[in-house]
């Protein structure tokens, strides 16, 4: 490279950074930077009435799994915490699987509509995606409540004669999360199916495959990147869900998000809350890393 070329490259890089600087300042001030402070807080000692005392402690991290008995000072496995983790994980997985089971046919349906209709169907999926999560959760609350639409229909048709109490149970959280996160599954699936070469279906049927075989041996393997993307897009916010379990779980059925809140707003144990936040962040990052890894691998071998 000549000196002049080198100068141009250097200048271009400098301009890129200068132009990005204002955005980076806002992001470091109000997004990335604060995360580091949370990391620091997770290694401090809890204060008397919330907040922290600036003394190093691993108590926050240890407290994730163990709790100290008030009387015997013995460390025991914190069953209550494990229940919350297990519930978060289980409900997130269930939500991911179920959104896929109903989201895949939906995405397929949209992708196989005539081109003129397709934009409209896609728009219908996108509207809920952008509308307020709280409103959508509240709408589910209205449907599920004792005197809500679900029970009115069930009792009106005589399927049951006493209202079913779903609200404030894990089932309600599961229904709510499936409802609010479904578009996140459908959109990447649609993108993958839209790229899928429909002529491969003809090849599959031509070579004696049945409908199920075509689905299993041709369609699913090829749209796998979309399935992975959709699953991660649903799993990640499910695991960190806060609003949905709060509105539909009624405080009894806590998930990690609510448990973190509890440590801060009730002023109980900030370092534990900070450690839990970091743990959640690490899990989410790991999931995203798996995705990036897979996406890169997929693109290089599938050309």
């Amino acid at each position: 490279m000549s000196a002049a070329e080198e100068r141009i490259v250097r200048q271009s890089t400098r301009n890129a950074w200068l132009l990005s600087l204002p955005a980076l300042i806002v992001l470091i001030a109000a997004a990335s930077g604060p995360l580091l402070i949370v990391l620091v807080y997770s290694f401090l000692t809890p204060g008397q009435h919330g907040n922290v005392v600036w003394e190093f402690s691993t108590g926050g991290w240890v407290g994730i799994l163990w709790s100290q008995d008030i009387f015997t000072q013995e460390w025991v496995l914190a069953d209550a915490h494990l229940t919350i983790f297990w519930r978060s994980l289980w409900l997130s997985l269930l939500t991911t699987v179920f959104t896929f089971v109903v989201g895949f046919p939906t995405a397929w349906f949209i992708a196989t509509r005539p081109l003129k209709e397709r934009a409209l169907w896609l728009f219908l999926i996108t509207i809920p995606f952008w509308t307020n999560l709280l409103i959508r959760t509240y709408a589910i609350n209205e449907v599920l409540r004792k005197e809500g639409l679900m029970n009115t229909v069930l009792m009106g048709t005589g399927i049951t004669d006493t209202p079913i109490e779903v609200l404030y149970t894990q089932t309600a959280i599961f229904i709510g999360m499936t409802y609010v996160y479904l578009p996140l599954m459908v959109l990447p699936l649609f993108a993958a199916i839209d790229r899928f070469d429909m002529r491969l279906l003809e090849a599959g049927y031509d070579l004696y495959a049945s409908r199920m075989q075509v689905l299993r041996r041709v369609i699913l393997p090829i749209v796998k990147p979309g399935i992975i993307a959709g699953s991660i897009l649903v799993f990640v916010p499910s695991l960190g869900a806060y609003v949905t379990p709060r509105v539909l779980g009624g405080g009894k059925q806590m998930m990690i998000g609510n448990f973190i809140e509890l440590q801060f707003l009730q002023g109980k144990n900030w370092p534990l809350g900070a450690a839990l936040s970091m743990l959640l962040l690490v899990i989410v990052m790991a999931a995203l890393l798996v995705y990036v890894r897979y996406a890169n691998k997929g693109s290089s071998t599938h050309g």
Binding site: D197, E202, A203, D206, L207, Y208
Partner: protein
């Protein structure tokens, strides 16, 4: 050669769209394709040849009419139940499977034992000379190799009929020539009935046992390459296959009379005004004024290397092209403006049937 019919289409009609907007892609086509022959459906794009192929494959169902395989009605049989395989124009190779897995796909779907599948895949890869590529992903292959995989994949289940939808159109000229020979070899070796769709008349002439020429959803003519070339039934067939000259004429006793007043001997059963066609290579130039020759003047010459096309004008203004061998070096040739006489080789002139 046995004359047993493998595939038959009876009054097949395929309309797309509804009501007044309906377009007949296939308009009452009946055709019989014999066992073990290399049959080509030839025609310009949109003529209905691919639609007919898709009806035979089972991807489309006729609006009316029937498709028969070995005498049995398969019109409503889905494609995965028909012993018919397709080589797709786009190849449609499965991107997530290796070459060997692609070739074995049909056999696996049929539930054949793994050992048989493996043996058959090896045979097929040997047949198309891709033994060393078995483990490759299809995206790592060249266009010609992908083409071979598509062929091997379609042949592996030993179908009764192999359908080829313009399979060579994506290849460059040199490769296309190679594959033409290759396809002919495969067809002879396997003895499977091939139905080959193309818009390339040269490809059709060199490869086929019989050709069906299609236009506007209708079958125009079916016959051997030689039949089609030398005895085209109508203007479309005559002009689509090879180059040709058309002349208006009226039927007179013993032949037809051209616009120039010259009478040429052509057998015909039709009365009145007709069209006469002569291939350019069948036009001979003689000295002007020679007895029985038609008077013409040379308009211009187009040099093609071995051949020279000589564009002539008859007395009534009709244009005729003669394909002549280019004159040897140093030899004087015909020049534009020159007056000449022309004759047609015996039996070369044809009266078109419509």
């Amino acid at each position: 050669m046995t004359e047993a019919v493998t595939i038959e289409a009876r009054n097949a009609v395929k309309a797309f769209g509804q009501g007044d907007h309906a377009v007949r892609a296939l308009d009452d086509v009946s055709i019989q394709i014999r066992k073990g022959e290399f049959f080509t459906l030839l025609g310009p794009s949109g003529c209905g040849k691919t639609t007919l192929l898709r009806l035979i494959a089972g991807f489309e169902m006729p609006t009316s009419g029937a498709i028969l395989l070995d005498g049995a009605d398969i019109t409503e049989l889905p494609p995965n139940k028909r012993p018919v395989n397709t080589v797709f124009q786009s190849y449609a190779l499965f991107p997530h499977l290796s070459v060997a897995e692609n070739v074995g796909f049909g056999l696996t779907m049929q539930g054949r034992p793994k050992a048989e599948v493996d043996r058959r895949v090896a045979e097929m890869l040997a047949l198309v000379k891709l033994e060393t590529m078995a483990g490759r992903k299809t995206s790592q292959l060249s266009g010609g190799q992908q083409q071979r995989v598509a062929l091997a994949r379609a042949l592996a289940p030993q179908p009764k009929v192999l359908l080829l939808d313009e399979p060579l159109s994506a290849l460059d000229l040199k490769l296309r020539k190679e594959m033409q020979v290759e396809l002919k070899r495969l067809q002879t070796e396997t003895g499977i009935t091939f139905i080959f769709v193309t818009h390339d008349q040269e490809e059709a002439l060199t490869m086929s046992d019989r050709i069906g020429v299609m236009s506007a959803g209708k079958l125009q003519q079916v016959g051997s390459p030689k039949d089609i070339y030398t005895r085209p039934v109508n203007r479309f067939v005559a002009s689509f296959i090879g180059e040709t000259n058309f002349m208006n004429a009226t039927v007179v006793p013993g032949g037809v009379k051209l616009g120039t007043g010259d009478v040429i001997e052509v057998p015909t059963t039709r009365p009145g005004a007709v069209t006469v066609t002569v291939r350019p290579e069948q036009v001979r130039l003689v000295a002007a004024g020679e007895a029985g020759a038609i008077a013409a003047s040379v308009k211009f010459l187009v040099y093609f290397g071995t051949d020279t096309h000589c564009h002539l004008e008859l007395a009534d203004g009709t244009e005729v092209v003669a394909r002549l061998q280019s004159p040897a070096n140093g030899e004087a040739g015909i020049e534009s403006g020159q007056s000449v006489g022309l004759r047609f080789a015996p039996g070369a002139a044809q009266v078109l049937e419509d």
